[in-house]
Symmetry: C2
Subunit: 86 residues, 2 copies
């Protein structure tokens, strides 16, 4: 079942040493095309030492999130749907 | 260097099938003792199918976060410091 307002966290690895400017550019590439899939990337957090990025997004499905990230040049298969939040 | 307002994401695995009520209880156990370490757990998101929990927190260090989670009964070694956010 696809919920139009489902929430997702996706995780990217390999972003060691990435700067705030580079993250902003990468995030901007998502924002530029996210409407094509009804997705919205709300926020992204980076640990530049571990090279991990966490993106919080809303959208219709995991696959929609993955398609936007892939087209934006930073594919990930690690996307979690978050029906429960406290 | 320990920044008193550093931000962290920690990840827990093995929470398959956990309910909203159970997550709230687990989160409540963190909140009840977090002040001991100058930590604050802002939010937690759960994917009950994958069994993943993501907690966003502020505090003085990764170790402080880990100590609270361990005392609350859900230890994790996977804590990321997030100096960059977009």
């Amino acid at each position: 079942m696809e919920d139009p307002v489902a929430k997702f966290m996706d995780v990217h690895s390999g972003f060691v040493g990435v700067t705030a400017k580079q993250l902003e550019e990468a995030h901007g590439r998502d924002l530029a095309i996210e409407a094509d899939e009804g997705v919205h990337f709300e926020r992204a957090w980076l640990d530049p030492e571990a090279g991990k990025v966490f993106c919080l997004a809303t959208g219709p499905s995991k696959e929609a999130i993955m398609r936007i990230h892939e087209r934006a040049g930073h594919p990930t298969g690690e996307v979690y749907e978050l029906p429960i939040e406290v």
